[in-house]
């Protein structure tokens, strides 16, 4: 499914906002542009799981830190909605830049991660991108990926999940440098679709890699 990027007559994206701060929820709702339709809100883990199951949105904007449940926050919401992962995508939102939080929520199944200081336009673009099945990487997340996987490209002999290819590394580097997908595409003379493919591949590696270092690395780098 592709959404009309100009917010034309195409179907709008159904979004659920999960955040425990009412002020932030209403602010975010106002920030999202006309291409989005907020169909539900939730403030706790339990509410979130219930609302998501009921409304079956395409995208859930999910705060990493949430009260309720077993204390797992956003991770727990994704785990609780795992039956819907095929149709519902999660975009993690957080004030926390801690690698541990970011990596754990991505590994739980989120399609992307953005910080809460992001502008309204950017978050709308990110939601559309996630709804289209692509991954959303903030510069910081790209930095984490580079730090965790190392900046050396994969040898052919390596387990492909544990290393990034040379092209993926290039894309990650540019994103870490603050390039938008469009700018990355221009810089590398490839199409935006190709950039998105690379980013999705990296996301897959980040989620599936069994590298024990990844978790260890994230735990060590509590701070950023």
């Amino acid at each position: 499914m592709t959404i009309n990027p100009d917010g034309g007559p195409g179907r709008s994206v159904r979004v659920v906002i999960v955040d425990d701060h009412t002020i932030f929820r209403s602010g975010l709702k106002a920030d999202l542009d006309a291409r989005m339709d907020v169909v539900g809100e939730a403030g706790t883990v339990e509410q979130a799981i219930a609302v998501i199951a009921e409304t079956r949105p395409e995208v859930v904007l999910l705060d990493v830190h949430l009260p309720g449940g077993l204390g797992g926050g956003g991770r727990e919401v994704i785990a609780g909605s795992s039956a819907l992962l095929g149709t519902t995508s999660f975009l993690a939102l957080s004030v926390s830049d801690a690698a541990e939080d970011v990596v754990s929520v991505i590994r739980a199944g989120a399609r992307g991660y953005v910080t809460k200081t992001i502008s309204g336009k950017e978050i709308s673009d990110a939601v559309i991108r996630v709804a289209d099945g692509d991954a959303v990487f903030s510069p910081r997340l790209a930095g984490f990926v580079l730090d965790a996987f190392g900046t050396a490209p994969a040898d052919i002999a390596d387990d492909e999940l544990d290393k990034l290819s040379a092209r993926e590394l290039e894309v990650m580097r540019l994103i870490a440098r603050g390039y938008s997908y469009k700018e990355v595409a221009k810089e590398l003379f490839i199409s935006i679709k190709t950039v998105e493919t690379h980013v999705s591949a990296v996301l897959r590696k980040l989620q599936l890699s069994s590298r024990h270092e990844l978790t260890k690395w994230a735990a060590e780098r509590r701070l950023l």
């Binding site: 930095g143 580079l146 730090d147 509590r222």
Partner: protein
């Protein structure tokens, strides 16, 4: 024992065969350990005197740890006495104590002194078996006031004003026992049937009361598990002694059968009493725990409150006053966010003086002065060197330019690998043409490009209408290889010394930095 010189305190040493008694004693007396041990073994054959002496020392002499702990505990917390015995008449002991100001009762004050007496006292008791004079000769700088001070038993015996009252009491008891034994040897009829139970009762009561002292002191100052365990043992021993003594006395050394029956009955009664008192005891214990936990929480809360007051509240007040200026508000909010983040997440043990840390602080500085958000992403890290300082300065200039001319968010990306350090500074401003910059404007040409070139790096400026990106690269010169955090090989070390020799400009500082780098590894 002939000189009155300063001796190490008598403590059980950690260098032990059984309980560290002999080596501790040897330390204290200044004799070789071997002789002390040999003497102890020989004494064991003298009617078991050695065994008794050893056991005595074992129980009475604290280990070095305990002794240190007790001494450290002496300056009791001013919030100590929640439980107290009925206040005793202060007497002469009080006058000698300076720290009377806190708390009303003299009872807790009685413990400010005796911690040392308790520790060293154990030792003097041991020495006391050879003669009470030795105990008194012990040179402990101690305010007058004995262990029995806070203890009703002490007041019964009016021993309060006598130094080392406990030791003297014990010594006297031992002498009495010896006298009785000797008297029996000479055929004097001693009513042992009465004396032994009476002694047992007295002893048991004394032990139990000591226990009260101990728990009160330990419970209120710091409650350690070891103290608890010791306390329970003491309580049980005291109880057992008293009960046995009373029984024997009452039953008049009747048949064992009777005694067992009585014992059973008394245990049942005790059990009943315990059953009734237990809820109170538990409640009291819980209250104490709750109060302690509450105090810890309170301290933590106070610290957080103090921090928030100094930072967040001040900033919020400033924001309200500057509400008219959006830029000021944003700047204040950014600065506060950074500060709070650092406070929440930073690890004080983390190494400072690394490149990433420097870049972040520079970014913070730029953010503060221009109000643009500067997002820093770092991958890898390296030690700061003189050349990296040049890189940082060039990056700073680029960030300032980006904030000044670009507007909006500035993205900074630092990637540090073994061979290379790169910094990218990107803004989304209108861009500029490098050649169009007048020659007298030194910012870009001198501070960024020229500086990087001088230090063996490169600076590329890529500007278009979509924004400007400054790319700074600083290859790790061989001389820096030793300072790279990840890369260290003998080869690079060897190469680094070669390079150092060839480098004359700043060889001295470089060399010292390299040494530092080597030391860190």
């Amino acid at each position: 024992m002939t000189t009155a010189v300063e001796r190490p305190p008598l403590v059980r040493s950690s260098d032990r065969m059984i309980a560290g008694v002999c080596s501790g004693l040897a330390d204290h007396l200044g004799w070789p350990v071997k002789f002390v041990r040999l003497g102890m073994v020989l004494a064991c054959f003298a009617g078991g005197a050695g065994v008794a002496f050893y056991a005595w020392l074992w129980t009475m002499v604290p280990t070095a740890d305990e002794s240190a702990k007790r001494n450290a505990r002496r300056p009791a917390s001013p919030i100590a006495p929640a439980v107290s015995l009925p206040p005793l008449p202060a007497g002469g002991a009080t006058a000698a104590r300076p720290q009377q100001t806190y708390d009303a009762g003299p009872a807790p004050a009685a413990f400010s002194g005796p911690a040392v007496a308790g520790a060293a006292g154990g030792g003097s008791v041991a020495a006391g078996t050879t003669g009470p004079a030795a105990a008194v000769a012990e040179d402990v700088p101690n305010p007058p006031g004995s262990w029995w001070d806070g203890n009703p038993l002490g007041s019964w015996f009016s021993f309060r004003k006598i130094q080392y009252g406990k030791e003297i009491l014990l010594g006297a008891a031992l002498l009495l026992v010896a006298a009785i034994l000797i008297a029996r040897q000479f055929g004097v009829d001693v009513p042992l049937g009465t004396l032994i139970p009476a002694a047992a009762i007295l002893g048991g009561a004394a032990i139990a009361w000591m226990q009260l002292d101990e728990t009160r002191r330990a419970g209120l100052v710091d409650k350690t598990k070891a103290d608890q365990a010791g306390g329970w043992v003491r309580l049980a021993a005291g109880l057992a002694l008293v009960v046995a003594g009373v029984l024997v006395m009452v039953s008049g050394s009747g048949s064992w059968e009777q005694t067992w029956l009585a014992l059973l009955a008394s245990v049942a009664v005790l059990g009943g009493v315990a059953l009734v008192l237990l809820p109170w005891g538990l409640k009291f214990w819980k209250d104490l725990e709750t109060e302690r936990a509450g105090r810890v929480r309170e301290t933590e809360r106070a610290e957080i409150a103090a921090h928030l007051h100094d930072s967040v509240l001040q900033t919020l007040a400033l924001i309200q006053r500057r509400a008219g200026s959006e830029q000021d508000v944003v700047r204040l909010a950014r600065a506060q966010e950074r500060e709070l983040r650092a406070w929440l997440f930073s690890d004080p043990a983390k190494e400072t003086g690394l490149l990433a840390e420097r870049i972040k602080s520079i970014a913070a500085e730029v953010e503060d002065s221009h109000g643009n958000a500067v997002e820093v992403v770092t991958v890898g890290d390296t030690e700061m060197t003189e050349r990296h300082e040049a890189l940082v300065q060039a990056a700073r200039e680029a960030m300032l330019n980006a904030a000044r001319h670009g507007g909006g968010t500035v993205s900074v990306y630092l990637e540090s690998t073994e061979g290379n350090t790169e910094i990218f500074i990107k803004d989304r401003g209108p861009g500029f043409v490098l050649d169009a910059v007048p020659d007298d404007r030194l910012g870009v040409k001198e501070s960024i490009i020229g500086r990087m070139k001088r230090h063996g790096g490169t600076a590329v400026i890529n500007s278009s209408s979509d924004g400007t990106e400054v790319r700074l690269a600083l290859p790790s010169a061989p001389s820096d290889a030793g300072e790279q955090r990840k890369g260290e090989t003998l080869v690079s070390e060897a190469r680094s010394s070669e390079a150092r020799a060839s480098e004359t400009r700043s060889s001295e500082t470089r060399a010292s930095e390299t040494r530092n780098g080597e030391m860190k590894q």
